[in-house]
Amino acid sequence: MSEQGGTLNVEGPRHWRNVVVLWLIANVIMVPIVVFVLGPGLPPGNGSVEASGQVTDNIVLLSLATPVALGVLVYLGYVLWAFRERTPEVVVDGPPIRGNSSVQFWWLIVTTTLVLFLAGYGTVRLLADGSGGGQGPNPIARPAVPAGGSRLVVQVVAQQWQFNYRFPGYGGVETNQIELPENTLVQFNVTSLDVIHSFWAYELGVKADANPGVNNVAYVTTKGPLIFHVRCAELCGVWHGYMFNQGRVVPKAQFAAWIAQQRVKFAPATKTLPPYSKTYFPEPLRRGG
């Protein structure tokens, strides 16, 4: 069986030209809308440096996806109009075209280039600052401390069904609320006491699974004041949908005052907590009771 290729019929180029022209027009309309109108509104917003990076990444993805989607849609719409059988009571066959090696070749080249570019671009963006994702106990993408800023380590202790936050640099105090100072490189050490949860701080662009027995590190560089929503993003039992709280990014002085107040408030609890550690294996562990 051989594939016929190469020479197109006389009518061929007319249809091809129509499709390409329609596609170009559609792109001229849609791509600017995507890049300039939809783009800036893409998630997760500009609440942190990593979140802004994700927005840029999404804009690139969407801008490249638009011509591809338009290509398929314009082509589909056109062939359904141009080549629809208008006298269906007669069953007539079309021309026996089995393929076209040059079309296949260029399709392969274009799609491969697109895919390799996306993979490369995504890798570059990911390795630049970690994009706010959990990188496991040995992160390889560590963003730099911002100019004029500082570092902060926060341990996120996930349990069924509440997030607690532990600050090793402040006496190991554990609280159920989270505030972060602005213009700071925050290192989240995310772990779980029981089942798999996921720490998702939407506006900060951070998501790191809380895996029991694992220290999952995620970085975020805060910018200005912000209210962010923390939600659990991995099904962890009956109250998974109710496992959320709100956090705030506040000026440094306000953060210092807040953490001092938390240390006083939770002094009785801090005395009973186990020493700060990257993972915890609490007892009772086996079948309780």
Binding site: V72, F83, P95, I97, R98, N100, P212, G213, G241
Partner: protein, 635 residues
């Protein structure tokens, strides 16, 4: 050796038919098996374990053994042990077909080795549980109408979510190949049977047993893990999770053996002249899927066996702090789980590419490219699974690799698209109901595929993982792809399988309602995910209620369209019964040359193949020109 033995005893009438090995006996012996297994489990539970069982009020060992012996009893009652026992007792080997003397409906409730009967059993069984799972989806959307009023209990809601997902995944992995590959693959390759006819029946009945077991989860407290069954959440739960384990283990068994059966059939039973390069693309789709089924499903069975041991005999495979790892389950599950979703997608591609030439009246464009695409998808699907775990804390060095491999899999998928689109070029497109579903497949899978590229990009995935964006992505590929292809295949092949036409007008109403409602339901979910709504939640930010209400109402419309379909099926196949022509679609593949209904032996003489499978466009004359002159060549 294709002798068909026909029974020579007088046919039994009335209730006497029920005596013997059939589904009713199977159910009775299954119930007996449950109680026996439960009793044995209670006896063998040692004192230490019995203490915990008494505290919990349930004994997992007893329940698991009950399910196991229940399934064994069910299969024995159907008659699967008869032939092995006969052989053990010295009877000679036999290929005797179990067919009833009469053409009645009763043979569908027995062990049948006629592949056409098994296919129709699959059709009804798959259809039944597809609708059960679909009902669960309607109920899920009912709960999500309001964030602060709960229609169902919080535990029951999670069981609904888990049951919908598990039942759909377990049912639809055999959803296309079960009915259609079992019926058509032997015909398309020129064989009278599958390689292992009894195995074919076995895979069907085992799947049905598993589905029923899944339904029993509601009597044991349901399960709270969703279809992915993550540990150690699953190990914590009530005995409803045991039902989930047994269900998926049986589904895995069914898949493994079904895939094996297909592989041997296609490899060894092709008739003379049916070379690999003449195989219809549907058979290629079945073949590549079969390899994935056979190799991936055992991983699931192994992962679940370890979970069962954690729950029953206190091993700690998945319990951190006791030496286990929750990661282990995630990885084992997704090594199965990712090929699994291509098991769902590939048959749909095979069907769409098989049907489009018929309704474009042109050969399949780029046949070799399409085959390469299917083989590429099957091969690459093994190398991408960690994209489900990008933010789980996997070794950060691995993520660029999995990003690349996942993006690469869009290349062979693109080949399939190119072949589908190329078939439409300068075609004579006939917008029949099957063709409408195929075209919708292209549209839906486009959005599914593009959103997949977003998910495969790690920075973008940091926000979308575990959110409704992922839900929208896989519903576009699985429902927009697989389920639409499922309906295309039903409308296309029912006239041959059942001998009656489905009403075309109702079919078009079904299609348009489903297509519009489907997009109206799932497109907003992309937005909800982007806005920050996690999956599997019973409450949400009240600001998102408007979108959720829109989605729920659209989901109800999907349900209505399914009622239209059901009405069409009942009306056309059970009441009106308008006999179908032998070849209503003027298709040129071999199954349409056979009479309707297809006789028991399929072919009077095994065919010899000598042409390519898509001989369209060869004759310029119309296939059936009553009084009209041949249409002029206006492209």
């Amino acid at each position: 050796m294709s002798a068909i033995a026909v029974s020579t005893t007088a046919p039994r009438s009335g209730w006497r038919k029920l005596i013997g090995f059939n589904m009713l006996t199977g159910i009775l012996l299954g119930i007996v098996g449950w109680y026996v297994g439960h009793w044995i489990g209670d006896r063998i539970t040692g004192a230490n374990l019995a203490y915990f069982s008494a505290e919990a009020g349930e004994n997992d060992i007893a329940i698991m053994l009950g399910y196991f012996l229940g399934v064994v009893g069910f299969l024995v009652g159907l008659g699967f042990a008869n032939y092995p026992i006969k052989r053990l007792l010295g009877h000679p080997p036999s290929l005797a077909e179990h067919e009833s003397e009469e053409e009645g409906v009763f043979r569908y409730f027995t062990l049948s080795t006629d592949h056409k009967v098994v296919a129709k059993q699959y059709m009804v069984g798959i259809g039944l549980f597809f609708f059960v799972a679909g009902l669960n989806a309607m109920l899920i959307r009912t709960e999500l109408l309001q964030p602060d009023v709960h229609v169902f209990g919080a535990n029951q809601y999670l069981t609904l979510v888990g049951m919908h997902g598990s039942m759909m995944m377990g049912t639809m992995t055999s959803g296309l190949l079960g009915p259609f590959a079992t019926f058509l693959v032997p015909l398309m390759i020129g064989s009278r049977r599958m390689a292992f006819s009894r195995l074919s029946a076995f895979t069907f009945w085992v799947l049905m047993a598993g589905e029923v077991i899944l339904l029993t989860t509601i009597f044991f407290g349901g399960f709270q893990t969703g279809w992915t069954g993550y540990q150690p959440l699953g190990a914590q739960g009530t005995a409803g999770y045991d039902a989930y384990i047994c269900f998926f283990a049986l589904v895995g068994l069914s898949m493994t053996l079904f895939g094996f059966n297909l592989i041997v059939t296609i490899t060894t039973m092709r008739a003379r002249g049916m070379t690999w390069s003449r195989l219809p693309i549907f058979v290629w789709g079945a073949y590549t899927t079969a390899w994935l089924m056979m190799l991936a499903a055992p991983m699931l069975i192994a992962a679940l066996l370890m979970a069962a041991m954690d729950r029953t005999v206190q091993t700690a495979f998945y319990i951190p702090g006791q030496g286990g790892s929750a990661y282990l389950f995630q990885n084992l599950f997704w090594v199965f789980g990712h090929p699994e979703v291509y098991i769902l997608a590939l048959p749909g591609m095979g069907i769409v590419l098989e049907l489009m030439p018929v309704f474009s009246r042109k050969p399949l464009w780029g046949y070799r490219l399409a085959v390469a695409g299917m083989l590429g998808i099957a091969f690459l699907s093994w190398f991408v699974w960690q994209h489900h775990l990008f933010v789980s804390g996997i070794n950060a060095d691995l993520r660029p690799f999995y990003m690349l491999s996942t993006e690469l899999i869009s290349l062979p998928t693109g080949f399939i698209f190119l072949c589908a689109l190329g078939t439409l070029w300068r075609a004579r497109i006939r917008l029949t109901v099957p063709m409408l579903f195929c075209l919708a497949w292209i549209f839906n899978f486009l959005w599914g595929g593009i959103s997949g590229v977003f998910n495969s990009d790690v920075p973008s995935d940091v926000t979308t993982h575990g959110s409704f964006f992922v839900m929208a992505h896989f519903h576009y590929t699985i429902m927009g792809g697989l389920v639409f292809a499922f309906f295309a295949a039903i409308y296309y092949w029912v006239p041959k399988m059942y001998g009656y036409n489905l009403n075309e007008r109702l079919g078009k109403i079904h299609f348009w309602t489903l297509f519009i409602a489907f997009n109206s339901t799932f497109a907003p979910l992309f937005a909800l995910g982007f806005m920050g709504m996690p999956r599997r939640v019973v409450t949400y930010n009240p600001a998102w209620q408007g979108l959720n209400v829109w989605v729920s109402i659209s989901a109800y419309v999907i349900g209505l369209s399914m009622l239209v379909f059901l009405f069409n099926v009942v009306w056309s196949l059970l009441i009106k019964r308008e006999p179908a022509a032998i070849n209503p679609w003027h298709a040129k593949s071999i199954e349409w040359t056979l009479p309707t209904p297809v006789p028991v032996q399929d072919f009077d003489r095994i065919p010899v193949f000598d042409a390519d499978p898509y001989p369209y466009g060869v004759e310029p004359a119309p296939a059936r020109a009553p009084t009209l002159a041949p249409a002029g060549g206006s492209a």
